[in-house]
Symmetry: none
Subunit: 221 residues, 2 copies
DNA sequence: TGCCAAATAGAACAAGTGTTTGACAAAGGC
DNA sequence: GCCTTTGTCAAACACTTGTTCTATTTGGCA
């Protein structure tokens, strides 16, 4: 109630537009069209609505993506940051969004963005302040460690590891998940599947990508 | 693995379509257009995508509103409740905090609030709008299904299930995780460990608590 | 090999939708 | 009274997008 409104009329309208959009998204799980908003706000011209939508965007109340259909997003708080990067303010410190940078297959190189970058939120307590990423498991070379085809592994980025750790490693240009260990003092990468053989770990060819610190499974069979 | 897929090819495609849509909505807070899905799924014809969208709708995986632009909604699970309840204005709907209501042990009753601190955030895409809770696994009666001691199971609350589902069930006043199935037409709860025997499922004593829809493991050994 | 059904592609159409332009009326300052 | 500003409306246009139809390809099977 201070400076920004010269007219009470427009104030009412923009508010109705905002409220309607907010409500519509809430109820329909998608943005209304400009004409929907016309109906809902009592305005009879798409152009009026258009005006207010641009204003609301400028005010930071909504995100309005020009040209796109039904593409309005409510920006709940001030949040100048892009919505994708921060989870609602209340929980932003508690969760982290990790992206799946590729699949790990026995004998097949890592490749990024296979389908569409898969990603999901992981509880902050799992990863702390370390840098992590996701890998999707393909194949069953680690089935003995109860890591299954389709599982997502949370990998903490690090370039060394301890004996017994399950790690993501690069062997030449192939990436796999194996258990790091030693036989007779010689370091090896051990698959946990009798059909595969341990791989000698020589620093010339092999490189630790990170340690497996968590596992998410969403395909339960 | 029974009737629904006649071809592996279409199976892959429909899966790609579904995953892409799911991901797109996740990242953009709005539905992709049919042509977006074309690009994202590798299909080159809008008509193919259209076919799959209708199938996915029939399967209950998505809600597809004919004629409407960018109107696809992911129906994560059965979810009889309206989607509107769990969609919200911003990305705050992307995570849900679930609490661990107890441990599940072979032969030991469920007990609630064992440890206050046992709760964490789970990505919304995993549970959709259904009601879920966590159970911590104790023991190895389901090791054959690669469910380990210390794992957290995400359980979707429901009081019936299909054959082959892994479920949390109450037997008398004891709670366990087992696979629900039938032998000679008689329903059983099957442990996935040779040291345990199948348990006849009689409705007088047994009760389904929910279905296992996810697994989080944070103690990797 | 030849046939059939499923999967996919390609093109065309119709409707929904964002955007722009111009006009009109009311309000307020000069 | 005249002019500017502001809020609103109406119509028109172009592009996006859902839908449908038909053709082509693919894969399995006899």
């Amino acid at each position: 109630m201070s400076e920004q409104n010269t007219s009470n009329k427009s104030n009412k309208s923009i508010e109705r537009v905002y409220n309607y959009v907010r409500n519509y998204i809430h109820e329909n799980a998608m943005s209304p069209s400009v004409r929907d908003i016309c109906t809902g706000s009592g305005l009879k011209s798409t152009s009026s609505v258009h005006t207010y939508l641009k204003k609301l965007d400028a005010m930071g109340k909504i995100e309005y993506r020009p040209g796109m259909r039904r593409a309005i997003i409510i920006k709940d708080n001030d949040s100048s940051r892009p919505i994708a990067d921060n989870v609602s303010d209340s929980v932003s410190a508690d969760v982290v969004r990790l992206s799946c940078i590729g699949k790990i297959t026995a004998g097949v190189p890592i490749y990024a963005h296979e389908d569409e970058s898969e990603s999901f939120y992981v509880d902050r307590s799992v990863i702390g302040s370390s840098e992590c990423f996701l890998l999707k498991v393909s194949g069953s070379s680690m089935i003995g460690a109860h890591i299954c085809d389709g599982d997502y592994l949370i990998i903490r980025r690090q370039n060394s590891c301890d004996e017994g750790d399950i790690v993501a490693a690069l062997i030449g240009d192939e990436a796999t998940v194996k258990r790091f260990g030693k036989m007779n003092g010689v370091p090896y990468l051990f698959p946990e599947n009798d059909f595969y053989s341990p791989i000698p770990f020589n620093t010339a060819e092999c490189k630790i990508l990170g340690k497996v610190v968590g596992l998410h499974r969403y395909s339960i069979n």
